[in-house]
């Protein structure tokens, strides 16, 4: 019976079992590793040379699908850290972080206006590691945007878009656009004020387009205003359509690098006189297995740690404003920072600039004709729909415009200067795109907004609850050094019983800031007949209502004006400084 089994399964005699089992395991390992034996695997991990000939490590690249996407080796010089800074690599790393955290967030997120905001609150308050996932997803998105821009700049300044890499550059520019669109579509999903208005303003750009503009706007928003249809459209673009497009273009972009033209060598190696040894060292093969892979594992450990450390020390926190409200336009509509340059451009009106330049000339010469470009050209259309696509086309066309064959920086001064100029222009435009730039807010509104912004903290919201004391504090009256001299409280009685705050320094400071800025504005003539007060009322046992109230006469018409804003401060609201 036993013998029959032995024969049936081809089992050798007992003294040969050891080698027989070893052989069986080795076979399985070779199948799983696509060609590496146990002995070879050991050599790989120890950093020993290959144990067999031909090199079985190259066989993996032929037989394994995943490894087939990778290069066999890179020349040593192209992997110098100072040449690539691993920027493209980290962009891909963040794309993978986004995919992993995104899939987890998709489990909890509900893409409908009634429930979207609530589902975000649920993720933050009722999902284990929910906040961590959301913050990591947001931080990863910022990382992907930053690193794709830096990768583009590096490629530009090392001239790596030239020669065989022109098409790779083109796919890279497309990937930059895809990254931007992925982050913009994700921006809407929390369905808070920030999201709603940034996307409303963003999509409104298309509205100014000719013929198809309004139709395109409706196509994106799903209706004249963003609602159920619009949110679903953005959601599906964010989680299905554009990730797929991104994977397609990342594949094309990467395959070109890995299998066709490799990473560019530093120009000093290719174009300057170097010794034979230096040349040999520069072209030394850095194999995928084990050198590139082990380095990549190291980079993954750095990237993961950096992400976690930033989140652990709370250096980054994904914002969540109040629920989207189509009826209430926020005072400062903010695009994501990487679109500030576009927002800055929209504040420029080219037609009136040309008019202001040309019309005085006409007047000097005595021609009665006046150029009225503003009537013909819509600045939103030009700066929103003509110039940005033009810039993108220009970016794509760089390899075809720049015919200079050299990649050495000293041989291409014009290209380097041009690149630096654009970096400067984008930074300047971004500054112009910040919400405060070039937008006048009435002084009373601005002062109250600075004290307590519609969204987020601000000095008024940071007043410790214990310092809120019912009263009407009138601007211009002398209250001495402290608004509530009779008050004394312990900021953290559990940790330090001896720490006692006398009076209400925070409330006093807020009132002083409020008074000072109002009186300044009155002195400058912005708020004549100023009459202002800060009203602090106890509304409920654990909640105060604070109302900064300002009355003044309009400097021009003399009409009586008033502005006030009401804030509710609950005892349990965290006040972090």
């Amino acid at each position: 019976m036993l013998n029959a089994l032995r024969q049936r399964f081809n089992i050798p005699p007992r003294n040969e079992w050891r080698s027989w089992i070893g052989k069986m395991i080795d076979e399985r390992v070779r199948i799983i590793t696509a060609g590496l034996s146990i002995k070879e695997l050991r050599a790989v991990v120890r950093g020993d040379p290959p144990t067999e000939k031909p090199n079985p490590r190259y066989k993996v690249i032929t037989t394994s699908f995943i490894a087939h996407l990778r290069p066999r080796y890179y020349p040593a010089a192209s992997t110098w850290f100072t040449h690539t800074f691993r920027l493209g690599w980290f962009t891909t790393f963040f794309f993978i972080v986004e995919t992993l955290t995104g899939v987890i967030l998709m489990v909890y997120y509900i893409p409908f206006p009634d429930q979207a905001y609530g589902s975000i609150l649920e993720i933050e308050s009722n999902v284990f590691f929910g906040e961590l996932m959301r913050d990591a997803h947001r931080l990863g998105a910022e990382g992907m945007v930053i690193f794709s821009w830096l990768h583009l700049l590096r490629t530009y300044f090392t001239g790596s878009y030239k020669g065989p890499r022109t098409f790779t550059w083109l796919t890279g520019v497309l990937l930059l656009l895809i990254t931007a669109w992925l982050s913009f579509t994700g921006y809407l999903l929390p369905w808070d004020q920030l999201a709603y208005w940034a996307v409303t303003v963003g999509t409104s750009i298309t509205d100014s387009g000719p013929v198809v503009g309004p139709a395109l706007n409706i196509l994106m928003r799903g209706a004249p205003d963003i609602g159920t249809g619009g949110l679903l459209r953005f959601y599906l673009q964010h989680v299905i359509l554009f990730p797929l497009i991104a994977i397609l273009f990342i594949s094309i972009h990467y395959y070109k690098v890995a299998r066709e033209h490799s990473i560019s060598l530093p120009a000093v190696i290719e174009e300057t006189e170097i010794t034979q040894e230096e040349k040999k060292e520069a072209n030394r093969r850095i194999d995928l297995i084990p050198d590139l892979l082990s380095h990549e594992i190291f980079l993954i450990s750095i990237g993961t740690f950096a992400l976690l450390a930033i989140l652990y020390f709370r250096l980054f926190n994904s914002p969540l404003e109040t629920h989207a409200n189509p009826q209430a336009t926020p005072l400062d509509t903010k695009a994501p920072w990487y679109f500030w340059w576009l927002q800055g451009m929209l504040k420029i009106d080219p037609a009136s600039i040309i008019e202001n330049l040309v019309n005085p000339l006409f007047e000097m010469v005595g021609i009665s004709f006046r150029l009225e470009l503003s009537k013909l050209l819509n600045s939103k259309f030009i700066m929103g729909l003509v110039v940005p696509p033009g810039l993108v086309l220009l970016l794509m066309a760089i390899p075809y415009i720049d015919r200079n064959p050299s990649r050495l920086a000293r041989n291409r001064p014009f290209a380097i200067a041009w690149g630096l100029a654009w970096v400067f222009i984008v930074i300047a435009l971004s500054y112009m795109g910040t919400p405060q730039y070039g937008i006048e807010t009435p002084p009373a509104t601005r002062i109250i907004q600075d004290l307590a912004p519609e969204e987020g903290e601000g000095p008024l919201r940071l007043i410790p609850y214990a310092e809120l004391q019912q009263g009407i504090y009138v601007v211009g009256e002398d209250y001495g050094d402290d608004l509530c001299p009779g008050l004394a409280y312990q900021p953290n009685p559990e940790e330090d019983v001896n720490n006692v705050v006398i009076g209400c320094p925070h409330l006093t400071a807020v009132f002083e800031q409020f008074s000072e800025r109002l009186l300044e504005a009155e002195a400058e003539g912005g708020l004549p007949d100023l009459n202002a007060r800060l009203i602090v009322e106890q509304l409920q046992a654990n909640m105060f209502r604070v109302t900064p109230h300002v009355e003044w006469s309009d400097p021009i018409t003399g009409d009586a004006k008033a502005y006030e804003h009401t804030y509710y401060l609950h005892e349990d609201r965290a006040r972090e400084e």
């Binding site: 950093g47 009634d114 905001y117 609530g118 609150l121 933050e124 308050s125 009722n126 284990f128 590691f129 906040e131 961590l132 050198d291 082990s294 380095h295 594992i297 190291f298 450990s301 750095i302 993961t304 740690f305 976690l308 450390a309 652990y312 109040t322 629920h323 019912q470 009263g471 009407i472 009138v474 009203i535 009322e537 106890q538 509304l539 409920q540 046992a541 654990n542 909640m543 209502r545 008033a562 009401t566 509710y568 401060l569 609950h570 005892e571 349990d572 609201r573 965290a574």
Partner: protein, 266 residues
């Protein structure tokens, strides 16, 4: 040391550090979730307060204290301890508030006490039924009203609400305080003081009062309008909207102050 070895050592350190961060965050996570929920509730109450002030004070008063004859107090003992039993509501009070705010009231449940703000007695507030409020806003209003519980049950002494600074040594100043305390502001607009729209605007009433009803002086007309609102109803307003109870709830002296104040509106 070779570069690979350095990378292995550093990589191991980073992996261990990352694991340590995850463990620490994991240990803290239940506390963080609990804190976030408290924080969330606080923000919901704050938000609910702003929704209440914009939408509900016209009938329920600026501090939810109710307006005699129009709508009940939402912060008294009766509301917190007996109301749901009175109407036979099976679930909790907060859900009751959400339900009533969502659908409103076609007719008053206590017409002899509170007539409501017209027809329907209370409008439907949910945007599902044509009202202005989203579900989360209605939930927030309920959270805000529930937060009156310590006051309603007498666990915490009620703090008297602040009133605008007025000179209380004059009858006119005292009259302005009466105007706000008696809840007149909920229905009547006076520029710069109140925004109610159920009753006529009182701007300039000091000019109109003398000529409204033949044979009555301005003082007599306003006095009659306060204690006997149905004697003369301004055109365009339904009879019975104004509470008939001010003769009992206000003293003659308060009414005199109120008249003095209203006569200053010219």
């Amino acid at each position: 040391m070779k570069r690979v070895q350095l990378e292995i050592i550093l990589g191991t350190v980073f992996v261990l550090l990352s694991a340590a961060i995850m463990i620490v965050l994991g240990i803290r996570e239940p506390q963080r979730l609990a804190d976030y929920e408290v924080q969330q509730r606080a923000e919901e109450i704050e938000f609910g307060a702003s929704v209440f002030v914009t939408n509900c004070t016209r009938c329920h008063g600026t501090q939810a204290q109710g307006i005699t004859g129009i709508a009940p107090s939402l912060r008294d003992n009766h509301f917190f301890t007996q109301r749901i039993a009175e109407v036979g509501w099976g679930a909790g009070l907060e859900d009751y508030i959400v339900s009533v705010v969502t659908t409103g009231r076609q007719v008053s449940t206590r017409p002899q006490l509170y007539v409501g703000g017209g027809t329907p007695a209370m409008p439907t507030w949910s945007e599902k039924f044509g009202g202005p409020l989203r579900d989360d806003q209605i939930r927030a209003v309920a959270a805000f009203i529930m937060n009156f519980e310590p006051y309603a049950l007498g666990q915490v002494p009620t703090v008297e609400p602040l009133l605008p600074v007025v000179d209380e040594s004059t009858p006119e100043g005292r009259g302005q305080v009466v105007f706000l305390q008696a809840g007149c502001n909920a229905c009547h607009t006076i520029s710069g003081l109140s925004t109610g729209t159920i009753g006529p605007v009182l701007d300039g009433v000091g000019l109109r009062a003398a000529t409204r009803v033949e044979g009555l002086t301005a003082e007599e007309y306003i006095h009659q309008s306060i204690i006997e609102p149905s004697a003369y109803v301004v055109e365009g307003y339904a009879d019975g909207l104004m509470p008939q109870t001010f003769a009992e709830t206000l003293t003659e002296e308060q009414i005199a102050d109120l008249i003095a104040f209203l006569l200053t509106l010219q």
